[in-house]
Symmetry: C2
Subunit: 492 residues, 2 copies
């Protein structure tokens, strides 16, 4: 039936349409079910709410998502009809019951995710089904190609390189260092990054503390053309829109099923036009990947990378403890800036890892011979060229690299030192626990919140020495983080 | 912070609060996250949406759920603060990862479900975790007692009996027959029923086609006091509010994990004050329960029933095909009325099963000796006493038992006969497929939609004979149902 549009001035996070009760009865739709709205050739599926008396019989109130998608104005007429439960929900059930999905079944799920045809609960069931039942190779390949097919594709001239570190390690903010070194060496590196999924902050969250990270693909191209690189959030680029939604759902429980992890990484690398891709797989007892599984994951990345024409290399790195000292956006960017500026008190472990990864990329794409990559990377870093390139990229992203003191002023208004209660040698620094504590403190949303670590594995600490400082913008959150710290004992 | 209430005139299905962007930033909350709203001693957790310009800096717009829960009016002040991610989400993750949950962990999940502290996705993850990883006995017992503890408890004088048939069998509408027979015999039977979960219609959906089924617990007591029985929807009674929400989430994918099934049934029987409970477990190749699992399920029901002081009996019944001819609310109630009126063309299988179940209840509660139950049940049915009691209950529920002709006028406006395309002997009538087809036709929402079966297993059918008639209020739905019928071939 034809209904007149009333505009709801809010984003609901997904399309929401409100009908009055009698219209809903007429269309035969209930709260939480789906309707189709269409105008000319455009149509969108929306979840229905029912109003008691705000909406007239001949009206439908729609959220901003629908307004943008259908390009409608107040009082425009739209055609509204009952949307069927999408067929993809049956495939989700099938996967939940342990059966394998066919290529077109996976494609139907991915397409419905992008078309907003699935509810929050249905998405969660899909994530849970893949988490519990895993995907075989044919399914994973179909997932990658479906994800690519529903997204945009970019392409760049030159030696286009990329890197991805599997998340879950606290801190470990190597990306700005590696990108700056590689771009300074003349490689093209259109790096897109996620926000936090299972760790306390993603690269996009961290960079957002000093520059803009939300750009569209045209803007991305301009930045890369200008500087040879970029470091932007992948969430609104539309490179892998299905993955962007799946990640939102995964984040709810910090789930990250392997097939989706692989598809998430590779679909974005393929979409952005990368030819040489380095994957850093940190493994360890509190990392996302165990030592045992790391070799298997490496094989899978290499297998699927090849299937999609990528030159891919995986490195297994030590993920037994955080890399760097800061956990949380501003604390991490401070570490990064110190390394790029080669300051005396920079975190040496972060510098080492940045050089290692950049060196690997140089060798992978033929920039240097085998065994010579790290040397070039170190040279570029020590010479200040990488730091200069970093400033250039940050400026292109409407930001500015702050002084260390400026950062320190912006750290959480509330803070708390935690001291060693006895003499000890540090034998465990648990990534998962630290990530959980930093999240409770407000990371990544409070940019100044998080944890500063004073020690690494093997360090000897005396009673009364500082172990960590907790930062938060909110006293309540600081107390909660402190309580969780004492409960979890992340450092032993 | 203190914010002024603006009233959103719609039910969102769960509490929704809309903040403007700057207030959201101040509280440090994002779309889809949670806030606490409180006024005096009352508080409620709500999901946040963010408005572009509808809401002022000092305002919060709230859905009807919040208005009802906090009892607030336009321009009242409420205290708004960030709600933490509930601890129960960590327990859900734990269960997802295959670990067992402790009693207090399960209780924390159930409490948060009832308090609306969990999102749709989190609820789906809980259902998926239990579906995939199952629950051990200690967990199931904790689930039952948690569900009971968050709900209301009723109690009645007299011999309070109850029955439950495991769903999934198409048609199988024995409840109105059994309740009418038992109440006519002087037993007290406060029967509460669900709406459809995995089948095309639940008893509440079916009865709703001729009477009211939504009552509160005070009204329920009045009906039972007056007639000795009731047949009402359990969804708004508050007997097991956690279960009511879980069922909504399960329905999305037609999941029904065993532990939740047991807890769902028993928590409601305990809450309503039943002392003698008969559980009908239909098994078969297209039933929810296989022959293999039925004995195990029987044992579990008996085990947990005893733990909670119920006198419980389980009967394993033939679920190889639908019981009765109609599938869909009005089609099923027509079968029921024919049996109660003892009409010539009543479905004999439905009559037989009703008598059997009522007889079992008579023996279980000591109304008759062993072996004499069915005889009494048959006597009451044949004498017209059951039919008289049914009229009495329907009147107490603001309804009226219609004539068969009146029902026939209300059946789906569109219908389609499906004929046998060859001579055959019927060897399969698939419950799951028929339920799916009836759902597509509009059941249980379109009361007149569904499937009428002309045959049962073993019948010989000639080419051109009617196999079934499909009914729907919508031509599109009828076509979709027809297409699905041809694809699934539910009758062979």
């Amino acid at each position: 039936m034809q209904l007149k549009v009333k505009i709801l001035k809010f984003m609901a996070g997904r399309p929401i349409a409100v009908l009055n009760q009698s219209t809903a009865n007429h269309i035969n739709v209930h709260v939480g079910e789906r309707i189709n709205l269409s105008k000319y050739a455009d149509s969108i599926v929306s979840i229905v709410d029912v109003s008691k008396d705000l909406i007239g019989n001949d009206e439908v109130a729609v959220s901003q998502e629908i307004i943008e998608s259908l390009n409608v104005r107040e009082n425009d007429e739209v055609e509204v009809s009952l949307a069927q439960k999408p067929q993809s929900t049956f495939f989700i059930k099938k996967k939940m019951d342990g059966e394998s999905l066919k290529k077109d079944e996976i494609h139907s799920i991915i397409k419905d995710i992008v078309d907003n045809a699935l509810t929050e609960a249905e998405l969660a069931y899909f994530v849970a089904a893949v988490y519990k039942n895993k995907m075989n190779n044919a399914e994973t390949e179909a997932l990658i190609s479906s994800m690519v097919s529903v997204g945009k594709r970019l392409s760049f001239d030159g030696l286009v390189v990329d890197k991805h570190s599997i998340g879950g390690i606290a801190a470990n903010r190597t990306t700005p260092i590696v990108v700056s070194i590689c771009a300074a060496a003349g490689l093209v590196m259109p790096k897109t990054s996620s926000r936090a999924i299972t760790s306390a902050a993603g690269t996009a969250d961290v960079l957002e503390s000093i520059c803009k990270v939300e750009f569209n693909s045209e803007e991305l191209k301009t930045i890369v053309k200008k500087t040879g690189a970029c470091m932007v959030w992948n969430g609104i680029l539309g490179l892998s829109p299905a993955d962007d939604k799946l990640i939102q759902t995964e984040r709810v429980l910090a789930l990250d099923p392997e097939a989706q992890l692989i598809a998430s990484v590779l679909s974005k690398k393929i979409a952005v036009g990368s030819k040489y891709v380095l994957i850093d797989i940190p493994y360890g007892s509190s990392a996302k990947v165990s030592k045992k599984n790391s070799a298997e994951l490496k094989k899978k990345f290499e297998f699927f990378g090849k299937r999609f024409g990528l030159n891919i290399r995986c490195v297994l790195t030590d993920g037994e403890q955080p890399i760097g000292n800061g956990i949380g956006p501003l604390l991490e960017i401070r570490d990064v800036i110190k390394v790029l500026k080669q300051e005396q008190d920079m975190p040496r472990d972060l510098e080492r890892k940045g050089i290692f990864l950049a060196g690997q990329i140089f060798e992978l794409c033929g920039k240097t011979k085998k065994g010579k990559g790290e040397h070039l990377a170190m040279e570029i870093l020590k010479s200040g060229k990488a730091n200069h390139k970093f400033h250039e990229i940050m400026e292109a992203q409407h930001g500015k690299v702050p002084n260390i003191e400026d950062i320190e002023h912006k750290l959480g208004r509330s803070k708390k030192n935690i001291l060693a209660d006895r003499n000890m040698k540090i034998r465990e620094i648990n990534n998962k626990k630290l990530n959980a504590i930093a999240s409770v403190a407000g990371s990544p949303m409070d940019k100044g919140s998080g944890i500063y670590l004073y020690h690494h594995l093997g360090d000897k600490v005396k009673k009364g020495d500082k172990l960590v400082t907790l930062y938060s913008d909110s006293k309540t959150r600081l107390e909660n983080a402190l309580e969780l710290f004492e409960k979890l004992e992340p450092i032993n």
